[in-house]
């Protein structure tokens, strides 16, 4: 819009434009030069005049200092008149003395207008003014500083203005003539310059498609000849490029044929124009992979044969190739034949020219089998990783639940699953043992184990079920089908012939697992079951170790307490009695001399005391180990102890033992006696029994001791799990003693149903 005005003012033809432009330049240059010269002359003359006026005024002032001080008016006036006569440019002059007297050259009197210039000078000062219509440079000089004395000189510029006007007139005439001449020269020059261009234009018009061999043959040195030569060169290059393009396209066609011959799938897709994105060429190999014939594919949009997942990759590749056409992209795409199996292609893409248009070229190779093999290897690696993850957890000393949680976590991570849980069903009540993102509540109605998955797991039959949300609607393995949405798969935790529980896994892909994954899950379930058994054994072992330690600790403490008791009794009874005996003997010795009559009585008392002391000592020794056991053997000792211990409790007891039984090794008899002591003591203390029975059976290889009561009974599991309980330790002590001899203890008891303890030990102790 801004240039519209200029377009209307400027002629359309190049010749006219050149003429107008050159004339305008000449005229403007002439005007500018004339004005500049006019001004420069004026300024130069004016400056020169000012300098000369200042010099004259300064010289005059210097000469007039004395006469002015001396008030020599005539001398001053003569000097000023002489100045006017000698200098034709001086219009007037006057001097002002220290007394204010003015001496001037004005014939009619001193002009009042000049008063304003008096007293303004400090040194040298110049003021332009108009004097009677003419321009004057008024120069004021104060020759002596601090002295009120001035000389004023008016320098007329009329001579300068006259010279300036003459110069301006001369320049105007010269400029006019010059402009006219320049205009004529410009017209001639323009025609001279443009004519070859016009001829050249005619020649260039003759060039065109199919006529590139026409040459202008510009061989001169003028610019138009050089231009003609350049056009010839351009025509030659265009002709060569055209030939090269034809050869290139021929080469491409041969390349496409060669690619087809070696089995390469080739497809060309239009890169621009209305056909953009459509196949412009495909070979038979590509068409076969796409499940079509080549003629059907040409003109079809390339996206119609690609899988949805390949479209984004192809678009990205195409975008990069457009930004860098020299680049070659390698992409993996998937063709979806109608009604066939998708084919994976490894495709090299490039942008090339084909039949004058830019196309995207695909050179593809079928890599479907290779990808399947790679997927198989990846799957196997994944399985191995999952099994390894679970196996690595098995070796760790963990509790059963901790092991299941760790194993479940490792399996979920290795399988890239979304969620999983483990439900144990080998106890009386199923329970959720481990979970990650999957809540399998066995106490919920419709949940484990009553759901289809749970039943299948309990039956040892794996299921795949969907959807994830409970209640489970799973199906058995044989009837498993794909379902919409999420799904989870359940496998049993099988250890040998027993099923310990079930493992449920929700795959990460929300797709039902395939056969391979199902087998993997089953293997993981089996590993978890084995690991669970191992963890349980480990836990039992650890508990036994803990109990054994506790037993040892209590034995040591009991030993110490026994020692303390023996020491205390020896001190309190036996020691005191022996001291009394010593005192009595001393008394008797004294009485022999002082009171012989009382010696007998004293001796008698001493004898009685000694007998009591012996009895006390025997009691202590008997408490430590009944002499019956050593002297008469196990059976009398057991009869004596049972009667001794249970009689105060009013428990009717029967001992059924063959009194003719053989003597057993000492450590066996001692162990059996001590185990009997423990069991009978428990009856006396805790059983609240009315009747008890002790049976001892001797066989050649082993001896069985059975102790039964009809007391309150107890839950063996609870008893053995309680910590710090004396009866628990007692029962464990039974087992420890039996195990030391290579035997075993079996406890049968229930609340309200009495207790039966069976102790069986080898007749000969194990070495």
């Amino acid at each position: 819009m801004r240039y519209e005005v200029f377009r209307t003012l400027v002629p359309r033809r190049l010749t006219s434009r050149l003429t107008l432009g050159l004339v305008a330049i000449v005229v403007l240059a002439a005007i500018v030069t004339s004005v500049a010269v006019y001004e420069l002359i004026g300024r130069s003359l004016r400056a020169e005049l000012a300098r000369s006026g200042e010099a004259l005024a300064s010289a005059t002032a210097a000469n007039l200092v004395g006469p002015l001080l001396e008030q020599d008016e005539l001398g001053v006036r003569a000097a000023l008149d002489e100045l006017l006569r000698a200098q034709e440019d001086i219009a007037y002059a006057f001097a002002v003395g220290p007394d204010g007297q003015v001496v001037h050259t004005f014939g009619a009197g001193f002009p009042a207008d000049l008063l304003s210039l008096v007293g303004t000078a400090d040194g040298l000062h110049r003021t332009p003014l108009v004097f009677d219509g003419g321009r004057v440079q008024h120069v004021t000089v104060a020759p002596v500083r601090t002295l009120p004395l001035e000389v004023h000189v008016g320098v007329d510029e009329s001579r300068i203005l006259a010279a300036q006007r003459s110069a301006a007139l001369f320049l105007a005439v010269l400029t006019t003539v010059g402009c006219a001449a320049a205009g004529l020269v410009t017209v001639l020059f323009t025609r001279f310059t443009v004519d070859p261009l016009r001829r050249l234009t005619e020649h260039v018009r003759s060039l065109g498609p199919g006529r590139l061999d026409h040459r202008l043959l510009g061989t001169g040195t003028e610019e138009t000849d050089e231009l003609a030569g350049a056009l010839d060169t351009m025509a030659e290059e265009l002709e060569a490029a055209s030939r090269h393009r034809e050869l290139t396209e021929q080469g491409y066609r041969e390349l496409l044929r060669a690619g087809s011959a070696v089995g390469e799938a080739v497809a060309l897709i239009a890169d621009d124009g209305p056909e953009e994105g459509r196949f412009v060429y495909v070979n038979e190999r590509f068409a076969a992979m796409a499940g079509r014939v080549a003629t059907d594919l040409v003109g079809r949009n390339a996206g119609t044969v690609l899988s949805a997942s390949s479209l984004d990759a192809v678009r990205g590749s195409w975008r990069r190739l457009r930004s860098d056409p020299a680049h070659v992209e390698t992409t993996e795409i998937t063709l979806v034949p109608p009604g066939g199996t998708p084919r994976s292609l490894e495709t090299a893409s490039a942008v090339i020219n084909y039949q004058g248009s830019r196309v995207l070229a695909w050179f593809a190779r079928d890599v479907t089998e290779r990808i399947e093999r790679e997927q198989e290897v990846r799957r196997q690696n994944r399985e191995l990783a999952a099994l390894h993850a679970v196996a690595s957890v098995i070796t760790e000393p963990l509790s059963p639940d901790a092991f299941l949680q760790r194993g479940l976590d490792a399996a979920v991570q290795a399988l890239d699953a979304r969620a999983a849980c483990v439900v144990l069903t080998d106890a009386a009540t199923p329970r959720l043992a481990a979970s990650q993102g999957l809540y399998c509540d066995p106490t919920r109605e419709g949940g484990f184990p009553s759901c289809a998955c749970g039943r299948a797991a309990l039956d040892g039959e794996s299921t795949a079920s969907e959807p994830l949300a409970l209640p489970c609607r799973g199906r058995t393995e044989s009837g498993r089908t794909e379902g919409p949405g999420s799904a989870h798969t359940t496998v049993p935790l099988r250890a040998g012939d027993s099923i310990l529980g079930a493992l449920s896994v929700a795959p990460g892909s929300r797709q039902p697992v395939d056969d391979d994954e199902f087998r993997l899950l089953a293997a993981i379930g089996q590993q978890l079951a084995i690991g669970l058994q191992r963890a349980r054994l480990w836990e039992q072992l650890r508990e036994q170790e803990q109990l054994r330690f506790e037993l040892y600790r209590r034995a040591i403490r009991a030993q110490e307490e026994e020692r303390q008791r023996i020491a205390r009794e020896l001190h309190d009874s036996t020691g005191q009695s022996l001291n009394a005996l010593v005192l009595g003997l001393n008394t008797a010795a004294i009485a022999l001399e002082s009171a012989p009559d009382e010696v007998d009585g004293i001796v008698e008392r001493l004898r009685t005391a000694a007998s009591e002391t012996v009895h006390e000592l025997q009691s202590i020794i008997y408490d430590l180990r009944p002499s019956l056991l050593d002297d008469l053997g196990l059976v009398p000792a057991v009869r004596w102890f049972v009667a001794e211990r249970l009689s105060p409790s009013e428990v009717a007891v029967s001992v059924e033992v063959d009194d003719t039984s053989p003597r057993l090794p000492s450590e066996v008899e001692t162990a059996l006696f001590r185990m009997t002591q423990e069991a009978v003591t428990n009856i006396a203390r805790h059983a609240d029994a009315g009747h008890a029975e002790v049976r001892m059976e001797f066989e050649p290889r082993h001896t069985t001791l059975t102790i039964t009561d009809d007391g309150v009974g107890f839950e063996p599991d609870r008893i053995t799990r309680r910590n710090g309980d004396g009866s628990r330790l007692g029962l464990l002590g039974l087992r420890e003693r039996a195990s030391l001899l290579g035997g075993q203890v079996t406890i049968h008891s229930a609340r309200g149903h009495g207790t039966r303890i069976v102790i069986q030990v080898p007749s000969e102790p194990v070495s």
């Binding site: 002629p11 403007l28 001080l69 204010g100 009197g109 009042a112 004057v136 601090t146």
Partner: protein
């Protein structure tokens, strides 16, 4: 209308614009003077004198123009170095600086010792600074000269002859020679004739031309003339404090202090181009502080010969 092509119109516009631009000048702000409007008489106001400017008077020692330029250049230099402003008021022939200071015609005077003593006696004027000679001293002497071969060899020989003193207000030309002659018993009445020359140069010229037998002149001038064989020096006086710049009693103390400080800072050797013929002045080496007591000797002599009163 004529059918004028658009490009021709464009060309015309360019030409017209250029001419108009070239012709643009402005004379409107300039002063216009009409010769027919004249003053009644040829006396105008004294050229600009600042109201606060100190008026400067001086003793005439050389020709008037040289004296004026010398004094004016000195105070122009002081103006450059201070905030003080001055205007030089030329003295008419016969004007005594002491009388002008005491009359209030001038505020500052560049005057000789006798003029100072008279102004001090007359109105309490103060000598601010006194001059320093080229040899660095701040004293000067007078000399009695005679024509070579005149037969005058001592001061006593002057008796009976014609004698030229300097200006009656001159220290070197009048006061000191009167003291010298009086000390040897030669009172003016013992001289055949006395005359007062207008300057030291005039007095020397009178000796050379035979108008007088002897004359009193400035010691430096006497030495210069004697060195060229033009005169013989009969005697030098004892050294006396040099003269300098005096200031009237009406000038404020702060202004006095400013002026004294500026004069003391003045270095003639650094202002050789600005000070007019300063080597011929009474203070070619600058100024030092003056004390009234320095002049007691000359004050006594002046009193003795009756020169203390204002002329």
């Amino acid at each position: 209308m004529f059918a004028v092509p658009t490009h021709t119109r464009l060309l015309c516009v360019l030409l017209l614009g250029s001419v108009l631009l070239a012709g643009c000048r402005d004379d409107g702000a300039m002063l216009t003077v009409r010769s027919e409007a004249t003053l009644d008489e040829d006396v105008v106001a004294v050229p600009a004198v600042a109201e606060e400017a100190l008026r400067v008077g001086f003793d005439r020692r050389l020709d008037l123009a040289t004296d004026v330029r010398q004094v004016a250049s000195l105070f122009a230099a002081v103006e450059e170095d201070s905030s003080l402003r001055f205007v030089t008021v030329p003295a008419a022939a016969g004007d005594a600086t002491a009388a002008r200071v005491c009359a209030g015609e001038v505020d500052v005077g560049v005057a000789g010792t006798l003029a100072y003593l008279q102004a001090r006696e007359g109105c309490g004027a103060t000598m601010l600074v006194r001059g320093v000679e080229t040899d660095g001293t701040s004293t000067y002497r007078a000399a009695i000269i005679t024509r070579p071969g005149s037969g005058i060899e001592t001061l006593e020989d002057v008796a009976g002859g014609r004698f030229a003193f300097g200006n009656p207000t001159s220290t070197q030309g009048h006061l000191i020679p009167r003291e010298m002659l009086r000390e040897v018993g030669v009172e003016p009445e013992r001289l055949a004739a006395t005359v007062h020359a207008s300057s030291h140069s005039d007095a020397a010229e009178m000796v050379r031309s035979g108008v007088v037998d002897a004359a009193a002149v400035q010691d430096r001038l006497a030495a210069d003339l004697a060195a060229r064989g033009l005169v013989d020096i009969v005697a030098y006086s004892r050294p006396h404090p040099t003269s300098g710049v005096i200031i009237g009693p009406a000038v404020p103390a702060s202004t006095r202090a400013q002026l004294r400080a500026a004069l003391l800072r003045l270095e003639p050797s650094e202002l050789s181009g600005a000070l007019h013929e300063w080597q011929r002045s009474e203070a070619p080496g600058g100024f030092v502080v003056a004390d009234d007591a320095d002049y007691d000797q000359l004050r006594a002599s002046a009193a003795a010969v009756g020169l203390l009163e204002l002329p």
